[in-house]
């Protein structure tokens, strides 16, 4: 059900704020994860899984997707006739989106906390990676058309 935002009695405490937490990979070389030792890889995978499970149980997770490695990515542009042109190559220094979470939280502060937790995902020798997580508010949809 759609809630009436304008009737919210407490503007400090907004309801239904959604944020996208985007994880980026720098450069378009081979993803560094490919060269990790097995235990480091396992630690990272388990951390990410538990993170998503916990968000789900807390009722904060709206969606989470991991994306395929960027070396398979294509840049698409429409040809003059509107058909897809897939010859495009990504520019060298481009950052790639590797995955994202969409969370629904009461405050933006909470979204930052969740982002920090994602940022602490372990890397080699289990040390936190301090990943860059981009936090963007997801705009609310216009009222549905009946």
């Amino acid at each position: 059900m759609r809630r009436e935002q304008s009737l919210n009695p407490n503007p400090e405490r907004q309801i239904d704020m959604k944020f996208m937490l985007a994880m980026n990979h720098r450069g378009n070389g081979a993803p560094q994860i490919l060269s990790w030792a097995k235990d480091d890889l396992k630690g990272h995978i388990n951390y990410m899984k538990q993170f998503a499970t916990k968000l789900g149980k807390q009722g904060e997770l709206v969606a989470a997707e991991g994306l395929a490695f960027p070396n398979e990515a294509k840049l698409v542009k429409a040809n003059p006739d509107g058909t897809p042109n897939t010859d495009g190559v990504f520019p060298e220094t481009k950052e790639f989106l590797v995955g994202y979470w969409i969370v629904e939280v009461e405050t933006v502060k909470r979204a930052y906390e969740i982002a920090a937790e994602a940022s602490m995902a372990p890397g080699q020798q289990g040390k936190p990676l301090h990943l860059d997580i981009e936090v963007r508010q997801v705009m609310s949809a216009p009222p549905p058309v009946e």
Binding site: L34, I45, K49, A52, T53, G66, A68, F69, P144
Partner: protein, 411 residues
């Protein structure tokens, strides 16, 4: 009154009711809605008193009234030029209750299943419509299973119903020849529904696993309604044998475990026996098809105590027949892997290299990794697994392949 028992009765009757009503009134949406309302009424009334002696008649009567009421209010509201909901004249509709007993034995669910799996519909639409109308799942449940928002699934279902209407597909009872002609489309839809659920491994996707259970349930239903059809038996057997390994194929952290490393004591023996018996009976009927061949291969795996003691020559032979029947290149890939188990990894690699159209496919690359690993060429094997990891579309498979590559380098 026991609610679980009531739900069981309702679930069993829902598709038959929709089927019976569709034959009368032709409008799938109106009939589904009416049955939903009848089910709600029943669940309310029955839990207060008891389940009636003739639950089907009770439900049909209530649902039928609902359709007629809906048709009346619709027709009076709409202009004459607009499409009338029901193509059946109102006076005929009133005659329904009396002859229902006669029609009861005619299997309404079966006709409804054939309608929902019509080849005019895309596979995604057919699966959704089947789950809704035959399986009795709610739109929200189906949306969760497909990981899409409920409104998206609602639209997909409406479009599917519109396609049924536009193509003039009716819920008329089919004769044996029509059924035989349309059976492959039905089997394909059930098979895809099963795979969609079975491929799910992550904890977050338990709802997807329900797709596999539902496909299994519907295939059982189909096999009960259309007995002694070799390919129906083959499909049901394939599902039973595959599903029997479910507990062993995913580890505690949700990681995939390949067949040769699975703890075979976790396999569901009862289901394996049922599946194996079914496929033997199907083969005895003499019309061998693709589902039976796949079930026979699954059955050979299930009967073996280990990878080493598996009857690989027999599996190679079955894959060769399957290649001729389907012409699917993925079958040739599986054949190459089985070939390697008989003739050794080097012979398997030669077969893989010959599959020109699959060289970029992650499954082929992963299979090459396995064979290279068996040859002791660890660095090349790890490189193959890493390449495959970059090409798969599944996170579970990607994690599996990355861990495999890492374990080859670690030691």
């Amino acid at each position: 009154m026991n609610d679980a028992r009531i739900n069981g009765v309702l679930r069993e009757h829902a598709p038959k009711l929709v089927g019976a009503l569709v034959r009368r009134h032709r409008d799938l949406q109106a009939c589904e809605d009416a049955v939903q309302e009848a089910l709600l009424t029943a669940s309310r009334e029955w839990s207060r008193s008891r389940i009636p002696d003739e639950p089907r008649g009770w439900l049909l009567h209530v649902a039928n009234r609902r359709v007629i009421d809906a048709v009346r209010s619709e027709t009076s509201r709409r202009l004459r030029e607009e499409v009338v909901v029901s193509l059946v004249p109102a006076d005929e509709q009133h005659a329904l209750a009396a002859d229902e007993a006669l029609a009861a034995e005619h299997d309404d669910s079966l006709d409804l299943l054939f309608l929902c799996c019509h080849s005019e519909l895309s596979h995604a639409s057919a699966i959704a419509l089947t789950l809704r109308a035959v399986g009795g799942l709610t739109t929200a449940e189906i949306a969760r299973a497909f990981l899409v928002p409920e409104s998206t699934m609602g639209q997909r279902l409406s479009r599917a119903r519109q396609t049924v209407k536009d193509a003039g597909i009716s819920g008329e009872p089919l004769n044996a020849a029509q059924r035989a002609e349309r059976l492959p489309a039905v089997l394909q839809v059930l098979y895809l529904m099963f795979n969609e659920g079975y491929a799910a491994t992550e904890g977050a996707s338990v709802h997807r696993v329900e797709l596999a259970s539902e496909a299994l349930r519907l295939s059982r239903l189909l096999n009960a309604m259309l007995p002694s059809q070799p390919e129906v038996m083959g499909l049901l057997s394939l599902m039973l044998l595959t599903d029997a390994r479910r507990a062993a194929r995913v580890g505690e952290a949700g990681e995939l475990i390949p067949l040769d490393e699975q703890d075979r004591s976790k396999w569901n023996r009862e289901q394996i026996e049922e599946g194996s018996e079914l496929i033997e009976n199907a083969f005895a009927l003499g019309a061998v098809g693709a589902f039976q061949l796949q079930a026979a291969i699954a059955s050979l795996h299930s009967e073996a105590a280990s990878t080493e003691s598996t009857d690989w020559p027999q599996i190679v032979a079955l894959y060769e027949v399957l290649m001729r029947v389907t012409g699917n290149p993925m079958v040739a890939l599986n054949h190459a892997v089985a070939w390697a188990m008989v003739k050794g990894p080097r012979a398997g690699l030669e077969k893989l290299n010959a599959l020109s159209e699959l060289q970029d496919n992650y499954r082929l690359i992963a299979a090459r990794g396995h064979l290279l690993e068996r040859l002791g060429e660890r660095a090349d094997a790890a490189a193959a697994f890493r390449l495959a990891a970059q090409k798969t579309g599944s996170i579970a498979e990607r994690n599996f392949l990355l861990l495999r590559a890492a374990s080859l380098i670690a030691r």
